[in-house]
Each structure stands twice: as C-alpha cells, then as structure tokens.
Symmetry: C2
Subunit: 292 residues, 2 copies
C-alpha cells in the first residue's frame, strides 16, 4: 500500500476505536475533527519512510507507531490553539477545535488522543515486547515532561527560556520519536536515526519561524505573527529572513547527510526532498530574493 | 513497607523523573503541586490492597501500576478545576492548580501526568510483557475515550446524557483499572476483581454526590453544590439524601460480597472498611439522621 494510504488507514482505525460506543457523540465528532482531514502527515510519513529504508519488516507495528506519533501531533495542535495558549480561532483553514466544540471538549480531545497514542502501541506489547518497550519510551519522551511537547509548551510560561531545550522539546522531540520508532520497527540503528529525526525537526522549527514571520495566513490556514506577538525566540528575529532561510537550507543538508547506511536510503531521501519543498515553497524563496 | 509509604515512595520516584532537568521550573513545581500532598490515595490503595490479597508476587510492578493510576486521578482533578469545567478556585484546601500556576501550565500538567502514567508501566514491558500489555490496556480504558475519564467528562457537554455510561466513565472506570492492575500484578482473577473495583467506584460516585450536596466546603477542601449548579445527574437529586446514603451502604455491601476468593482477603476487606468510613463519615450520617 502506498505510504499516504497506510497512514490514513491506520489513523482511521485508531480513531474508530477511540470514538466507538459509548463515546459521547460530541466528543467523537471532535476527535474526528482533530485528526481529519490532516495536514502534511509529516511525522508519520517520516516514521514509515525510515521503516521502509530499513526493510519494513514489521509493517503493522510501523503503522501503529506512525499513527501514534500523528495523534500526539494532533493533540498538540488542538492545545496550541486554546485561548490560554495561542488563542487561535483558525486552523487548517477552518475554525479551530475549541472554537467549534468548546474549550472543555478541546481539552478532552487532547487527553483522548494522547491516551490512544499509547494504547495503540500497547496492543503489540505481548507479541513484540522489546520493540514496543522502546517505542512507548520514545513516545513518552516526545510528548511529556521533562523534555517532550508538554515541556516545550511550558517553556513559553517561563521568565527565562532555555532556547535549545525549548525548540528541541516543542518540535524536534516528536520528529526524533517518529524516526526512532520507524527504525525500531525494522531493526535500524536507533541512535543514528534519532539524529536524522532531530535534524529534520530542527529544520521544521526554522521553517515554522519563517512561515510565521513571512507567510500568508490564508495559505497556511492558521494565524501568523504569533512568535512576535508572544515575544517568542525565533530564527527570523535573531538571523533576519535571509539568514533564517540559509539556516533552513543548512539544516536540510545536514539532515540529508545524516541518513545512516541502510538498504533503501532513497525512500528517506525522497521524503526529505518533498518535506523541503513543503517547508520553503518556491514562491516564498522568490519573495525573499526580491526583499533581500 | 507499609502501603501508604509504598504509594508515596512510588509517586516520589515518578514525579522526580517527570520534573528532572531540563524540565522548565514552573512546570516542575506545578507537577509536584498536583501530586503532593495527596488526598486519600484511594485508587493506588485499592491497587496495592488487591495485589496484596493475591499474594503481591510482583511488588515493583504493582507500585508502578498504583502510581500510574494515581497520576491519572491527579490529572483529572487538575482538569476538573479548570475554568472551562468546574471553574473551581480551591482544591484540597489550597488554590487550585490553574489558580496558582495559570491555565496553560495546568493543561500541560495534565498532559505530563497522563504521559508519565503510561511511561511508568512501559518501563516494565521488556521484563513482564504479558502483565504490562494488560495494565496499559486497563489504564487506557480508564483514562481515554470511548469510556474512560475523558469520555466521562465529555458527557457533561452533551445535550442528552447516558447516566450509566457517564458515571462509569467518570468514576468507576479508574477504580476498575486500579483493581484490575493489582490483580494482574499478582496473578489474580482479573474479571472478578474488575467487578469489585467497579462496585467500589460506583459507591464513590454516590458518596461524591452526597458530599457535594450536603458536605461543608471547608472540610472537603473544595467547592460544593457543583452538581446542582451544573445540572448534573446526582444520586441525591434522584433519591433524596437518605435514599442516597442507603444506596451508598448497599454499594459498599455489594463491594464487600464481590471480593473474589484469594489468599489474603482481609487486606481488601480492611481497605474497603476504611474507605467506607472516609466516604460517609459519622458526623454526616448523624446530620442525615437529624434531618430525615
């Protein structure tokens, strides 16, 4: 099955479990709203690209891990938009989840997605304990505290910010978990793939800063200028637009060079090329050339 | 080690992992605030009482499961108090967590505790896969959707409420998970213990309704009359105070009778007697006799 279909099929399966009877109907609808239609599905895409690069010997477990990673991402977006965080009323071009379903349901959707993320992988524990132990650990490291998404968001409530810890926790940690999980499912070198995942995550963080500073809200489907208005550290603020794009390109090159030796390297190379296109589209590059 | 010390030691260990460097200091302080000092520690107490009744053959895993259950409970209390839920400014006699640390940090504490709950049990997966697979499943069933705490809270946002599903999800599910986890750790009969857990949980739900309707805010350390003001289903509203106390006593008797055959039945009997005392203290009973 083609990668995108694998991801959507796996997500459909986990969302169905999460919204089955006797799930309250409003919550069920909100859970589907949080997961479908998706954005770029970049994190599960990375997970499966790495699994395929390493031989994809346990595709069902890889699908479960990919879905788990994406659920954590979806939960983080729902929370990010809440009034007590970014207070964003639009996401992916439609009302943000709390705008549509209320804050209480939004908080509960976050919980339900996080719980399902672990439950989905836990289903494979009895059959593949060693791999699942590592994947569950990677998911927890990426999602919680002291250094996952929860910690990353919490840095925004601190008086003094450790910028490296902030960026790693907020963005790179889940990319790491995606790459690591894909490698675990197919016997790849976990620590080497962790580095590739972290580098791509760090490229994403830079690209996100660029999009926030220079992108158009309509094309991104979400509010822009959040970093400035919340006084957050940003690559554009510290390096300027051209410097930030240069840093992005450097991170993408480093990511490409970091790909470990593996049987099907081209699956990850192709994935990173596609991600790079998406991260800094040609029209943004040309806009930058004209303003530079 | 005495049961209470086991629980506090296990919780101390998991909180330390969750707040280790590089955890943002504000978040770390809030996580400790959410877990210490505790309330009755009833759910982890049930988990360990059941494990002891069944022989306590894997005490470290039982401690991990007990801590995991309590973290889920602490997370649910933090969320319950949020402005978009009960909007409670007091909990356990001090400012509720969001009152003290802000809403954003409160939401993140919930995430971090839920994630740690799964991570804690996941540490034992490689050594005890079969038991951990079942415990992780029980935790997920109790915490998420379609029928755990997230679903239970979400029933409060529905126009039409399935009262049985609501009460089971909101309260009984985590008691079930506590009893089931204790049984799994010591080779007990999981389904029989599930019933005992569910019955005790249902007694707790009735007791909670009574305390909310008749208790004193100062003694409870939290706001009262929440059910009435949020128009929630309540045993007191449907049966009157005396009827509700009669129902509570009946549920406690059923719980006691449901205890499965096991080596050390007295550990659970004693636990349930203590819980009953706590659930409906003598002064409340005498107050009810005078008003009846």
């Amino acid at each position: 099955m083609e990668t995108n279909s694998r991801i959507e099929t796996a997500l459909g399966r986990v969302v169905e479990k999460t919204t089955a009877a006797p799930c309250p109907s409003h919550l069920a609808e909100a859970i589907r709203y949080a997961v479908f239609p998706g954005g770029g599905r970049v994190r599960p895409g990375l997970c499966l690209a790495v699994a395929q690069a390493c031989g994809d010997s346990e595709p069902r477990l890889a699908d479960a891990a990919a879905a788990a990673v994406e659920l954590l991402h979806c939960a983080s977006l729902v929370q990010d938009d809440l009034p007590c965080f970014d207070d964003a009323s639009v996401r992916r071009g439609r009302p943000s989840l709390h705008e549509r379903f209320g804050e209480a349901v939004a908080v509960l959707v976050g919980d339900a997605l996080i719980v399902r993320s672990f439950a989905e992988v836990a289903e494979y524990v009895a059959a593949q304990p060693a791999a699942c132990a590592q994947i569950l650990q990677a998911l927890a490291d990426a999602a919680g505290a002291p250094s996952g998404i929860a910690a990353g968001q919490a840095w925004e409530s601190e008086a003094a910010v450790d910028v490296n810890a902030y960026h790693h926790a907020k963005t790179a940690a889940l990319f790491e978990a995606a790459a690591v999980s894909g490698a675990i499912c197919a016997g790849g070198d976990v620590e080497k793939w962790r580095r590739t995942g972290a580098l791509l995550g760090s490229a994403y963080q830079v690209a996100d800063d660029i999009a926030d500073a220079l992108g158009e809200s309509g094309r991104l489907g979400k509010p822009i200028h959040q970093d400035g208005s919340h006084a957050r550290p940003s690559a554009v603020a510290s390096l300027g637009a051209t410097g930030a794009v240069r840093l992005l390109d450097q991170r993408l090159r480093e990511t490409m060079h970091s790909i470990p030796a593996c049987g099907h390297r081209e699956s990850v190379e192709h994935f990173i090329e596609m991600a790079a296109q998406r991260l800094c589209p040609p029209e943004l590059r040309s806009q930058l050339r004209h303003t530079a």
